[in-house]
Amino acid sequence: MRARLSHWFNKRGWSDLIIGLPYVWLALLFLLPFLIVLAMSLATRTPTAPPFGYGGENPILNFNGYARLFTDDLYIRAFLTSLGNAAVATILCLLIGFPMALGLTRVSKGWRNILLMLVILPFWTSFLLRVYAWMGMMGRNSWFNQLLTDGWNWLTPEGWAVTSLPLMHSNFAVVLVMVYTYLPFMILPLYASLERLDPALDEAAMDLGTRPFGVFRDVTLPQSIPGIVAGGLLVFIPAAGELVIPTLVGDAASPMIGRVISDEFSSARDWPMASSVAVALLVIMVIPTMLYSRYQARADGAGGQP
């Protein structure tokens, strides 16, 4: 008996265990909750606890939640605000992150390790505290706000003078803090793809008489597209579903979608509606992710660089 058991264990049981344990865990604690959200988005809201009804006197499939997504102004605006803020933050991250990553490849090796460590260091400090640091900077009495106010008063005509700028609780603040917290996500993949480029190509282009900007446009940029796409998705996807940043520094009058989901769920106790919004957000996010994996599969299939 023992021999047969150990034979089974060596033959099959071993690999079954390695696969099975994480499989069952994820099925129970990730897939099942996800299926609950899907089912919940088609349920009807009732004043019971938990606050939903399914079947019985309620319609079995209730598409009201999804219909409201297209008719209710609140949801359309929230989606547009989220996608807009995330897109602007992604573009700004790219505009700052690309020259930074390129600069990192041009400094000496000793400096490079120190600077890379300085890029990663904020990662290890609390996300919440990094958002909080900007709350201190943007407040009406802070030195940063006063500095910007002085600049504003100096640049604009006298009639426009203000005592402080309303930086906090605006989309500007949300985008600024998003860029601040997500910039490392853009720099690191860009650096990884730029570091692998062969400097001989640059020199060859230079020798053939290309101007520095031409070298950048025709040689460096096309080769760094995988890094740009990876960095862009790493910034855009979490930014679009962000909850902490808009809650702390955002404009409560035009909430982002993460805030809407959380409010529908907790304050309004409308589980079906919260689930419908969540499913819609996932659909919107799945599209860029799928495009990316198709793009990557094609790049891998082409088998360019080793």
């Binding site: 390695i18 992150g97 919440l128 505290l129 909080y132 802070s142 520095p212 993460g258 769920f265 969540a278």
Partner: protein, 279 residues
């Protein structure tokens, strides 16, 4: 001809100023005498005193560390198994679903992970009477689930790079599969497992959104405590707390960097010696 890229260097300077000026500002204002957190009113260390004598903060920190230690350890075990499975067992039933379940949590917005876990726990309490009360256990379960996939990513990447021939040689020489795993695979990927654990630990220690949905009465982790204070505005004792965090993390990263650097140098030296003795 070598031109100095002045533009790139000035953007680098701007970028690092952007990264560190808010943090420095926070550190400076943690020594502010004034109650108004953004107006300078003289030097003082009173916020550190009030922070260190605050029992709530100590209890919250302890809870956070306990949850992070347990969840990171279990997440590392499960995540490593999943990583090995995906890298080595190329064909098994349900592999597509498995790959999906390992990738999806990486891109899932935290709000959705949070409310879906909470719905699961509430419905389970309704159906089977467990968990009767949300708190330590439910937070830990949720943390394990969303941090294990990060471990999987790290381990899987390392497994794909590692040389499979050694494992096959051991098999040919008669090792049992579990012996191969224990004696060869695990030692080879050990650095990846370690960095996976560290990643899971920090993710758990840092999480606000998922914790806020899966917690119950009386279970306040440190990020939840900060979150509830910060929602009301800027307070000076949070500046002090942030300064201490930056100090601890900075020291940790520098020490880890020095140790890794030394290990790397030793490895290179050993390799050179090994080559020389071969000659």
């Amino acid at each position: 001809m070598k031109r100095r890229p002045w533009f790139l260097f000035s953007v680098l300077c701007f970028g690092f100023a952007f990264f560190y000026v808010p943090i420095l500002s926070m550190i400076v204002y943690s020594f502010n005498e004034s109650r108004l957190a953004t107006v300078w009113g003289g030097f003082s260390t009173k916020w550190y005193v009030s922070l260190l004598s605050n029992r709530q903060v100590g209890a919250a920190l302890l809870l956070s560390v306990q949850i992070a230690l347990i969840s990171a350890t279990i997440a590392t075990i499960l995540g490593t198994m999943a990583g090995i499975a995906l890298a080595r067992f190329t064909r098994f039933r349900g592999r597509v679903l498995f790959t999906g379940m390992v990738t999806a949590p990486l891109v899932m917005p935290e709000v959705i992970t949070g409310i879906s876990s909470l719905m699961l726990f509430i419905l389970m309490a309704d159906w089977i009477g467990w968990p009767g009360q949300r708190g330590f256990t439910t937070i830990t379960l949720a943390h394990i689930t969303f941090s294990m996939v990060f471990v999987t990513t790290v381990v899987q990447a390392r497994m794909i790079q590692s040389d499979r021939a050694i494992e096959e040689a051991a098999m040919d020489l008669g090792s049992r599969p579990w012996q191969v795993m224990w004696d060869i695979t695990l030692p080879t990927i050990f650095p990846a497992i370690l960095s996976g654990w560290l990643l899971a630990f920090t993710i758990s220690l840092d999480d606000v959104v998922i914790t806020s949905f899966t917690t119950g009465p009386g279970n306040t982790t440190l990020p939840l405590l900060i979150w509830s204070k910060v929602k009301l505005g800027v307070t000076p004792d949070i500046n002090a707390l942030a300064t201490l965090t930056v100090l601890v993390v900075g020291l940790g990263v520098v020490i880890a960097g020095v140790i890794l650097n030394r290990a790397e140098r030793r490895r290179i030296l050993d390799e050179r010696l090994a080559y020389r003795s071969n000659d």
